[in-house]
Amino acid sequence: MKTLILASTLLLAAVSATLTPAAAQSKPTAITIATEGAYEPWNFTTAGGKLDGLEIDLANDLCARMAVRCTIVAQDWDGLIPALNARKFDAIMASMIVTEKRLAVIGFSEPYAPTAAAIMVEKASPLAKLPGTGTTVDLGGDPAKVNAALAPIAAQLKGKSIGTQTATSNTAFLEKYLKDSVTVREYKTTEQHDLDCRAGRIDGVVAQKSSLTAFLSKPDYQAFTLAGPTFVGDVFGKGIAVGLRKDDTVLKEMFDKAILAAKADGTIDRLAQKWLKTSLTN
């Protein structure tokens, strides 16, 4: 009898094991989306402990389009990708940029927003006059041009401490292009490097321009300004997209379709106006 039970259990396990991949590819009815909840205005936690922001609005909109029930959870930034692959949730919407390195471990949907990074400094600091303010440097473009744009900035930043959030493209940018002139200080969240910038422990911050622009409109940041060019391309990748497991092709298709539709009917632009006070179509 015992052997029979064991045998049937094993058989059942074998059958379910062979069935799982096929089952995973059927259309899901409920998914869990993870965000960071600490990256205003993209995704943040309100004083009441609720998640809010552009990506929360967008996630709800996309879920309605895909006709799936969504649960949105918060997860520390540096644990997002490992937790996705450990199947703790099914998708990441945390202002995550598509980069080669990330593509090696997870998949991405169509991007829903372009990315650009900028430098924030104190207005009173000499760094406020960084050259190239108002221009855009495409790091993926002509290397000679990139060097010409970066050299004067590197010279001015010599010996300064610049804060970034750890494990972001902003850190990658500093380490690739300005490592020799600045001291990179890495923070767990952007809120922390902003606090330290205000406290004067660091001379500047490199973060996504959309996020910095939103900060600068707050009363606490009256003394700060963006300085130097806007950086796009190369380490800043191909835009912000939904992070997905590589084998979840059905979910990717669903997200792709929903994002393209949200772009086409102006939903994403409307959300950008609401949260970022700018248009995302540039």
């Binding site: 490992p82 750890t166 494990a167 890495e186 406290a199 422990r201």
Partner: protein, 243 residues
């Protein structure tokens, strides 16, 4: 298991070991001095001294070290103008000194209770004997109470040392790239959490192994039953014997 990757990881993480060791050593030394002072205040029997010590231990033992660290680093960071006026800003601007301060204050609270336990274990007879020999309180403290108390407290204090060595990993939250900070950074770059944390764990394991051995050695050295060098034989002068 990718051995060459593990090896490269270990080498990178070992780069953070000096900072981990520095943080541990400075906070344990400072905290140890604070602990001794607190324990003496607490056992002094004078209310003006013992009450503040009690309050201090209550607060620092009752709140998480991470919160203390954040309060000192990010919290005090918001009072830059006031701190600058007091000339303290250069201290609080530096994440290293903030980390050492937080950890030293934390361990001082715990260790003071450990030392207090040691002091309480000194047999009253020994104290009476010391007084009977004419020792004044300070001399009694130095010669009788502290040696006995410290020996008694050492095993528990060894525990606290190990806890502090591991608590240095919190310093990564205020941008200090010690072993855990480097591990977090490497994981962010490679997404190989298991291998990298395993390597970091190995480094802490080796560190605490050495620490516990050192404490054991110290215990053995302070033990009254330790086999000592042959004590000098007392010379007894007997009369009537040729010199």
């Amino acid at each position: 298991m990718d051995l060459s990757f593990m090896q490269a990881t270990l080498l990178t993480l070992l780069g953070g070991l000096p900072l981990t060791l520095q943080l541990t050593a400075s906070s344990v030394l400072l905290g140890g001095a604070g602990a001794l002072a607190l324990a003496l205040m607490r056992t002094s029997g004078v209310a003006v001294l013992s009450l503040p010590a009690r309050a201090y231990v209550f607060v620092f033992r009752g709140t998480p070290l991470l919160i203390q660290l954040f309060m000192i680093y990010y919290g005090l960071g918001q009072f830059r103008p006031a701190l600058q006026e007091l000339g303290l800003w250069s201290f609080f601007r530096d994440p290293y000194s903030c980390a050492v301060l937080a950890m030293a204050m934390n361990t001082a609270a715990y260790a003071s209770e450990i030392i207090r336990g040691g002091v309480a274990s000194v047999p009253p007879g020994a104290l009476e004997a010391a007084s009977a020999c004419g020792m004044r309180p300070l001399m009694r403290l130095r010669r009788i109470v502290l040696p006995l108390a410290i020996r008694q407290a050492l095993p528990a204090y060894g525990n606290e040392l190990v806890l502090m060595a591991k608590a240095t990993s919190l310093a990564s939250t205020i941008t200090l790239m010690e072993v855990t900070g480097l591990a977090g950074k490497m994981i962010a770059q490679t997404y190989r959490a298991v291998e990298i944390f395993a390597c970091a764990g190995l480094i802490y394991l080796a560190l605490t192994f050495v620490l516990t051995r050192v404490v054991l050695l110290l215990e053995w050295w302070l033990s009254p039953r330790r086999p000592r060098l042959q004590p000098a034989r007392p010379r007894i002068r007997t009369t009537g014997e040729p010199a």
